[in-house]
């Protein structure tokens, strides 16, 4: 079910494929929920002058979650935005070197961001900041350390992976 171009079926170990499939499933579910909820909210608001108080904060939380899951997908496909004027000209070993350095750097930054994301989770769990309904802020924030943590691991792995043929 996973149509990821970065996922070359047999070369990817099974647990990793499970992880990718889970990420994609979660992403698709979040996006469909985002579309469904925001459309339903508008129908409720215009037709019945109603709507639900918890929908708006929930859709905003879903935006954060889709952004993090989308960023993970982008890392898997080498689609993170960068300056590519120079790397376009590189081939072979220099390209492998450039990718190693930059991805290792991205992994380091992501790891730091994951760490501070975790600090934020601890902070808001301590203070019990509410988000909406029975959901607390730290539940929503959990995607920060988890997302950036996975992103760090993924960049670290990709630092060693051979680049894919160029595409627009």
């Amino acid at each position: 079910m996973d149509a990821a171009p970065g996922d070359r079926a047999r070369s990817t170990p099974l647990p990793l494929r499970w992880l990718h499939a889970a990420e994609t499933a979660l992403l698709v579910a979040a996006v469909l929920a985002l579309v469904g909820l925001s459309a339903a909210q508008i129908v409720a608001r215009t037709l019945f002058d109603g709507g639900w108080a918890w929908v708006d904060p929930l859709t905003r939380a879903l935006v954060l979650w889709t952004a993090m899951l989308g960023a993970l997908a982008a890392a898997r496909d080498d689609r993170h935005i960068n300056l590519d004027a120079l790397t376009r000209l590189l081939r072979g070993t220099p390209l492998r070197f450039a990718r190693f350095v930059t991805f290792a750097f991205a992994a380091g930054v992501s790891a730091l961001l994951a760490w501070y994301g975790w600090q934020l989770v601890l902070l808001d769990r301590e203070s019990g900041t509410p988000a909406f309904g029975f959901v607390q802020a730290w539940h929503v924030e959990l995607i920060l350390p988890v997302g950036f943590g996975l992103l760090a691991l993924r960049f670290l792995v990709r630092a060693f992976v051979r680049p894919q043929p160029p595409s627009p």
């Binding site: 996973d2 993090m68 960023a71 930059t102 930054v109 961001l113 160029p166």
Partner: protein, 426 residues
């Protein structure tokens, strides 16, 4: 030590490090030097979950990707051709309008050249338009239309500018209105050029084949409501951008998967993944740059920059001219989304000091970025077109020159005639 870090970061940038990592690193280094608790970076990042307009970005992007995957581009070209094809230069104008409409929905990410260019280039050649003209037209039209609602760059600019609580404020609706006339000006100028160079007509002028037009309209019956709902809803002021986005995304999802059945489940999953990879890449940069903006403002970086620039540049006009040149270079190097997120927090406070309306600045910024997409030597769309049409980049560059000059004239007009951007807003 500071210079060593700066040099290392510049080297990493040149080697193609992901921008979000670079911005995140700068923000953390800056805050760390100021003795702040770095958790603030994540506090700022978490504000992504606290911006009601932001939901419009994933929703419109999803709608655009689904439309691109479906047969909508083909039907759009058929319909506009049946209505405009009779004019001299008609097919070229069809190409301009179809590309503009398509880019407005997909947000100028190179999708237009791939999806529309593949249809339009052969059609133009068949209608005996010159090879160079046809290549130049489809390449430069790849970013045309990003000044029209509901293009994501307009939304993103408004979101970034809102962080500064400007007076007058920058709402998404204001940006949508402001882009209308400048966008039309670009299309009109390009249309005039197309009429001038067009080959003589085959079908004979002034004849619309009404039966074909009717059939084309029937064929596109599910797509026709879209621009009406989106543009009508937005420009009438009846709905907020995020509401229109929700309706659009839900409608497109239902039509492409359930009504037309052009997108099956595996392709839906792939399209969602593709669209959200782009959204994720953009929002990650936006998130970390919120931390950077926090550091900027905390250290009054904009004020210091203004003092420095004010010492060399004394008039609004000179500032705008410098801005044009600077943005042209920036547009070649950075894509429109990261350029907006990174540069607007720096440029906006300075422009405000020079008395430039923040909405006008947004249109100037985005119009320049649109040009940057195909500015030689490194505009992104030049490479996409070269790849798509299997031509040397230099040939594409040469083909784009007249179009570049025309749109450059339009950008200058947009810059120095604020009325164009502001008459529908203020």
């Amino acid at each position: 030590m500071t210079w060593l870090i700066v040099a290392a970061l510049l080297l990493l940038a040149a080697l193609g490090a992901p921008l979000f990592a670079l911005i995140g690193a700068v923000a953390m280094l800056g805050l760390h030097a100021g003795g702040a608790d770095l958790t603030v970076v994540m506090v700022e990042f978490y504000r992504l979950a606290d911006m009601p307009v932001l939901v419009a970005i994933p929703l419109f992007t999803l709608a655009g990707y689904l439309l691109g995957e479906s047969g909508a581009p083909k039907r759009l070209v058929r319909l506009t051709d049946s209505l405009l094809g009779w004019m001299p230069g008609g097919l070229a104008i069809v190409a301009l309008c179809a590309c503009a409409l398509f880019t407005a929905f997909t947000g100028a990410s190179g999708v237009t050249i791939v999806a529309m260019g593949a249809l339009l280039y052969p059609a133009l050649r068949q209608a005996r338009y010159g090879d160079s003209f046809s290549l130049g037209l489809v390449t430069s039209s790849g970013s045309l239309g990003l000044l029209f609602a509901p293009a994501v760059p307009l939304i993103l600019y408004a979101i970034v500018a809102q962080q500064f609580n400007t007076t007058p404020p920058v709402s998404v609706d204001a940006m949508f209105r402001a882009g209308l006339l400048p966008g039309l000006l670009m299309i009109l100028l390009l249309a005039a050029w197309s009429i001038y160079v067009a080959p003589p007509l085959e079908r004979g002028p002034g004849r619309i084949d009404w039966r074909e037009a009717g059939r084309a309209a029937w064929d596109a019956r599910w797509e026709i409501p879209l621009p009406i709902v989106v543009l009508g809803g937005i420009y009438s002021g009846a709905f907020a951008a995020s509401e229109v986005a929700a309706v659009t995304a839900a409608y497109v999802l239902v039509v492409t998967t359930l009504v037309r059945r052009e997108i099956d489940a595996p392709r839906l999953v792939a399209a969602i993944r593709e669209a959200m990879a782009l959204v994720g890449a953009i929002l990650l940069i936006l998130g970390v740059s919120l931390g950077l903006t926090y550091w900027f403002i905390d250290n009054s970086v904009p004020e210091r920059l203004f003092e420095w620039i004010g010492a060399h540049v004394d008039s609004k006009l000179a500032f705008l001219l410098l801005l044009n040149l600077f943005l042209l270079v920036l547009g070649m190097l950075l894509d429109i989304f990261s350029a907006t997120v990174i540069m607007v927090p720096i440029i906006l406070p300075i422009a405000l000091q020079f008395g430039i309306d923040p909405v006008h600045l947004g249109i100037v910024f985005l119009a320049n970025m649109q040009l940057g997409y195909f500015t030689p030597p490194v505009g992104m769309n030049l490479f996409i077109a070269a790849y798509r049409f299997q031509r040397p980049v230099l040939e594409i560059v040469r083909a784009c020159v007249p179009f570049f000059l025309i749109l450059f004239a339009a950008v200058l007009a947009i810059t120095y005639v604020p009325w164009l951007s502001l008459v529908l807003v203020r």
